[in-house]
């Protein structure tokens, strides 16, 4: 039977919803699921993890170095306790993407990035070529499965369970001091989180100027939606990098995705393949976004966005 360790993602004492998604994948693999919370102090994160449906145990591993999630100091802590586990999983967020290859190398194990489906305990589907092909890959029995989980493919199970046991633990590994956290600039306002939102309104180069992004934001606020963007809009400096949707930005699966002034390059589409309904507003009838849009409107966004916002 599998014995699965899931690394919790958290910040400011709050468990990130990506952890429950990784647990959902662990449950599909089957077996005992232990969540590892690497924290500096407190037990809020561990307590929250204990109520995720399907979790058998939680380890709250405390060390002063865990005030900020640094791969250089967290990977040795994980590798030191990973021995008894058949699988070590983390969400495929920038947190997991940064951390897990370092864990895998310390364990001398290969790694599977971005599990989107589970065939059996060692056989998984993962996207390659920006999601334009899916490979089924098998990890040999000789090594632990070290992997990240594609959050958009795994919905967290609804509801909470009676809290699983939480065990406190201390770090035993030697930790490097060569990496220091300097700061985090986060412009997250009051809008819903892009990765968790049911509705997302995204803007692209077609907006034409930074100030026109207000049209996207206005519609998003009316809909209670998160705001997203194409790479072109981020590169132009109109919006911060964490709003980028796509192969190299965020992979999202909202129920409703509205793309305004976005052409639909494959790298952008890679981020919205799992969206429920895609709405495209673009003045070019031949824009590739229309090949995947459920509802398309060939029109000038400068007219449509205010009209739609006012009509809602």
């Amino acid at each position: 039977m599998s014995n699965i360790l899931v690394i919790a993602e958290h910040a400011n004492g709050q468990l990130n919803n990506s952890t429950a998604r990784a647990v959902a994948c662990a449950k599909a693999i089957g077996g005992e699921v232990t969540v590892l919370a690497l924290t500096a102090s407190g037990d809020e994160v561990a307590t929250a993890a204990a109520t995720i449906a399907g979790v058998s145990n939680v380890i709250n591993l405390q060390d002063v170095s865990n005030g900020h999630a640094l791969a250089a100091t967290q990977a040795p802590q994980i590798a030191a306790i990973a021995d008894g586990y058949s699988h070590v999983l983390a969400p495929n967020s920038t947190f997991g993407k940064d951390l897990m290859p370092r864990v895998a190398a310390l364990m001398d194990a290969p790694m599977v990035t971005d599990i989107m489906a589970v065939h059996d305990a060692r056989t998984f589907d993962r996207p390659v070529y920006a999601g334009n092909a899916i490979t089924t890959v098998k990890v040999p029995d000789s090594v632990a499965v070290v992997a990240t989980v594609r959050c958009a493919s795994w919905a967290p199970e609804a509801g909470e369970q009676a809290a699983a046991a939480v065990e406190s633990s201390a770090n035993s590994a030697a930790l490097p001091t060569h990496t220091r956290f300097v700061g985090l600039v986060s412009e997250q306002g009051d809008r819903p989180d892009l990765q968790a939102a049911d509705r997302v309104v995204s803007g692209g180069r077609g907006l034409g100027a930074a100030e026109h992004f207000a049209l996207v934001e206005g519609l998003a606020d009316k809909l209670g939606a998160a705001v997203g963007a194409s790479r072109a809009a981020v590169d132009s400096g109109w919006v911060p990098n964490d709003l980028q949707v796509g192969q190299t930005g965020k992979i999202i699966a909202p129920e409703l995705y509205i793309a305004a002034g976005i052409s639909g390059a494959i790298q952008h589409l890679a981020g919205i393949k799992d969206a429920g309904t895609i709405v495209a507003i673009n003045k070019d009838p031949d824009a590739p976004i229309f090949e995947v849009a459920d509802i398309g409107l060939v029109a000038d966004l400068h007219q449509v966005l205010p009209e739609l916002t006012n009509a809602l």
Partner: protein, 248 residues
């Protein structure tokens, strides 16, 4: 300070990927290959460090078959001083790539290793972190800004929450994100010059023993295709459609 920059030859980012009907992979015959775009950004950064007088020498490294020489020549044309090809005809997965690169790092003794955050073929996003782990070096992934400050580097990273800055001791591994810089265009004279720059070849088996592809690819399939839906002709019609589908 010597900088090592790692580059991979991949299917060009503009290619429409076709999955072979027998499930053995994607169609690579007759397809255009280029340097992985993230690696191109890494090369550009290395060269800018040299132009700024911070780097003394830039060495480009690639793992792949003979055709990867073209990729290394592109790096040389951009401004790298010399190149090393780790020759491998077989598939080399990230762990094996990191082990091979570790050997080259030990031979070359760079103070900084730059590479793309991911290759756009396997989209693995692993090699830089694995190399840093094997060397016991700091890593700064997804870099959008790199400032060398004596024996340390300040690296701004594109993370889900925004922009994070780390300070790392050198030597370190830094992986580039898209907004680190905009790579230069290669000019014809530079291509001519690149032909005269040294390009050494090492055999994969000589730099890293063992299996190069531990994970078996059982099959490759095409993703489910989204179908184009309906077109509406006005904002009112769009709103009506959204309402019918209970989306607003």
């Amino acid at each position: 300070m010597k900088v090592l920059v790692c580059v991979k030859r991949v299917v060009d980012f503009n290619t429409r990927i076709q999955v072979k009907s027998d499930g053995t992979g994607v169609q690579l015959d007759g397809v255009k290959f280029s340097m992985n775009p993230f690696d191109e950004i890494a090369v550009e950064e290395a060269i800018r460090l040299k132009e700024a007088g911070i780097a003394s020498e830039v060495v480009a490294v690639s793992i792949g078959n003979d055709k990867s020489q073209d990729t290394l020549r592109s790096a040389l044309a951009m401004g790298a001083d010399s190149a090393v090809l780790i020759n491998a005809d077989q598939e080399v997965q990230p762990l094996a790539a990191a082990k091979a690169l570790k050997t080259v790092v030990e031979q070359q003794q760079p103070k900084l290793v730059l590479m793309g955050k991911q290759a756009i073929d396997d989209d693995a996003n692993q090699t830089g972190q694995m190399l840093a782990a094997l060397l016991g070096w700091p890593q700064a992934t997804f870099a959008s800004e790199l400032v060398i400050d004596g024996d340390t580097a300040n690296v701004t990273r594109e993370v889900d929450a925004g922009l994070e800055t780390l300070n790392v001791d050198l030597p370190a591994v830094v992986t580039s994100d898209l907004r680190l810089n905009e790579p230069r265009y290669i000019k014809l004279p530079d291509i001519m010059k690149a032909k005269r720059k040294p390009l050494d070849t090492l055999a994969m088996a000589d730099v890293a023993g063992g299996e190069t592809a531990m994970i078996e690819t059982v099959k490759t399939s095409a993703p489910p295709q989204r179908q184009a839906g309906i077109k509406v002709d006005s904002t009112e019609a769009l709103l009506a459609e959204l309402k019918t589908r209970n989306l607003v």
